[in-house]
Symmetry: C2
Subunit: 439 residues, 2 copies
């Protein structure tokens, strides 16, 4: 019999788990620094929670099921926003305002696995509800940048690409798209890399973006404008007055004030496929553009209301572990062997073979562990101290504790495995000696 | 529209999430102290992984599903051991021996939710593979105790009840149960609290446990024998020679050597329902016996082989978050309001209303957060410092940083919200002042 993990899912052996924990720690640390509180919801929800938001079309992308003998339809969560909106709506009257929540759940998509896209993945979600304005949007973008910086990435490695639904709508209308076709234009824009150029041109013309309009549209969405270049540069590329991009100018000022100017750039090509975004939208990409988005999000002021709560301004983003892991590995920001990220043992306890030492070993190990120290020992029959010291080094222990003949006088040998320095320590002082040495 | 979490699942708002993280931290700290490395597997597995171990009967207890258009049957994981055995079998040749792994995954059971039993729950799993003997069994029991002690529980709160499949088999055979009925006797024993006494008596008699045999059997399984009483007391209660319980005597010595004597007691009534246990079995119960088991596990030497690996000695246990949470709450070991467990802000930054202060606030907040400090600020329009200080205290911040007129000289006011003490600090020294104050 041979068994394997389901296609598109992962086994996390200690080395892979250490990498996952490294990423999750950066997410948590940034979240806490920015004053967000952690939440979580069920791994599966009523299927209706997803169809209410995204329509019946989403069902084929979900893993859905019923309990044997049950009548409720459930689905493994494909994203967090519906759960978050449901939770916020359910306690809207009691929750403090603004609500600042983060979560680090796993998600599931029943699609074909490919580079950067798996059937089960982990994703950091950050949401700020009940407040609005450019400073709020900048704060949320700041959390994302905070985690990337903690992982060693800088503005030369990753770019936060920013647009605004309202400004972008004004642009496409100015280019000749009718009011009722704006949503279709956004959808076309979002999918432009997934179709041949002639198909794109044809569909753009049908929406009113023909000839010169299309050239201006292309110029607007393909021009990379740094925040330092100012909103005028973006307006010039788009061929519209700068005042039409006022929301992006306000956001630019807030981002610069929050020290994020270097990390961000305007990109009117960012629309985010999801229909529920209402204002600022952004994606984080690897600087060369060679991978899928590392993160994506935006303002979704109508969603809590959709799930039965009051009208609530809201902005949030998701950052998955898969693309981020690829980018970190590519930049040399993860060790080749993830086991280097595992917690290092404080001490590796060795019996030199005396019966009294053999008897003391389990007692000592238990006492040190009860005191919070990370303690390992050998499971081999050998009492060859040289071989056991090699094992201690192999397990990356800071110290070896050798139980030898001096145990009769209540002392043990404490060997620093980095410096090789060795000294005798009284048994009663061992735990504090290990702690004092930075354990 | 009104949406709710599926029956038997939980929404974790910040207060509930903080409690979950408190429990998970104790699990992780104990695991690391004892030298175990963290792993994880997919949230769903091929359905065959579970039926191979537990038979087709388990299917009705699982949430199982297919991908739309797919042909593979999957199931949400109901437990970790099959995943662990699969992972160990897949890399048996490369993995270091012994394998010491822990995991903190969520599990799913499609049964009726009741006190201590939900449809989705979190469970700590600890397994040690590739080594055997009483010292190994004691080490694994020690990890469980290590986590309970870290959560504030003691031997008067919880009891580790211990038995051994081989010794228990010898007992039931000595009482007249035929070799081929030993497994049935274990199953009956495991379910004795789930049937009326007369039903139990009838079924026991059918297995060869009638009259005097049944009295001795009842005496054996209902007698609580502390480790300090010695194996002789257990043998006397069971009415068999002490030598027949040699495995438990050896385990007793190892548990005492590891400082676990006080926490443990013999209980031949513990058999664990699962057919795959081969040696030591144990459960952790609240001392009064009023709740379901907090943890359960044992030795399962045949399981890795079942999943295609080599013959591998193995012992492990699982400890769920639901019953443990009830016991901790009952003993007053969790705060009434879980938000007390949330990380406390280092600083709450306040602008006293000067335009320069308003402009500096987002810059300062961003700098402090980038430096790893946990910093909050108000989202209200008010510049009333008294009201804002009240907000800072309500958010449990250690310090308030007030941007007032002294900002013109590059200084801010730093107020210790516990002592009320207030002093001026240069802006450039603020981060280190906060850190020096224990932030």
């Amino acid at each position: 019999m041979k068994f394997q993990a389901p296609k598109g899912t992962r086994d996390f052996y200690p080395a892979e788990m250490a990498v996952r924990r490294r990423i999750e720690s950066a997410w948590r640390e940034a979240s806490v620094a920015f004053g967000f509180d952690e939440i979580d919801g069920p791994t599966f929800e009523h299927l209706e929670l997803y169809t209410a938001k995204s329509g019946e079309g989403i069902v084929s992308e979900l893993f859905s099921f019923r309990r044997a003998g049950g009548s409720d339809d459930y689905a493994l969560r494909p994203e967090f926003t519906p759960t978050l909106a449901r939770m916020a709506a359910a306690r809207a009257a009691q929750l403090p305002v603004p609500i600042k929540w983060f979560a680090v759940p796993n998600f599931f998509r029943a699609e074909r696995p490919q580079r950067g896209r798996l059937r089960e993945f982990f994703q950091w979600n950050v949401d700020l509800l009940g407040a609005e304005g450019p400073a709020i949007d900048a704060e949320v973008i700041g959390v994302a940048v905070g985690a990337l910086a903690r992982l060693g990435l800088g503005p030369a490695d990753v770019r936060v690409k920013i647009s605004h639904r309202v400004a972008a709508a004004r642009l496409v209308r100015a280019l000749g798209v009718a009011e009722e076709s704006v949503a279709a234009a956004f959808e076309l824009l979002d999918r432009r890399d997934k179709m041949p150029p002639e198909e794109f041109t044809k569909r753009a013309a049908a929406l009113g973006l023909g000839g010169d309009s299309l050239s201006r549209f292309e110029s607007a969405v393909r021009t990379r404008v740094q925040l330092a270049d100012g909103i005028g540069a973006l307006a010039a590329a788009a061929g519209i007055p700068a005042v039409e991009l006022a929301e992006l100018e306000a956001l630019r000022e807030a981002l610069v004030a929050a020290g994020l100017g270097e990390w961000c750039e305007f990109d009117l090509g960012i629309v985010r496929g999801l229909a529920y975004y209402t204002g600022t939208v952004f994606e984080v990409h690897e600087a060369s553009g060679g991978e899928r988005a590392i993160a994506g999000g935006g303002r979704y002021d109508g969603l809590v209301e959709l799930f039965g709560g009051p009208k609530t301004p809201a902005i949030g983003f998701g950052m998955g572990d898969v693309v981020l892991g690829l980018v970190l590995a590519d930049r040399g920001l993860l060790p080749k062997d993830g086991t280097e990220l595992l917690p290092r043992p404080d001490a590796f306890v060795i019996s030199a073979g005396d019966p009294a030492a053999d008897a003391e070993l389990p007692r000592l190990v238990a006492r040190l562990r009860a005191g919070g120290l990370h303690v390992r020992h050998s499971y081999k029959a050998t009492r060859n101290v040289g071989k056991l010291l090699a094992d201690a080094s192999k397990q990356r222990s800071r110290f070896a504790v050798i139980l030898g003949t001096e145990l009769a006088e209540g002392r043990v040998q404490l060997k620093d495995l980095a410096s090789g320095e060795q000294r005798q320590v009284a048994l009663v002082d061992l735990a504090s000696a290990l702690r004092a040495a930075g354990a």
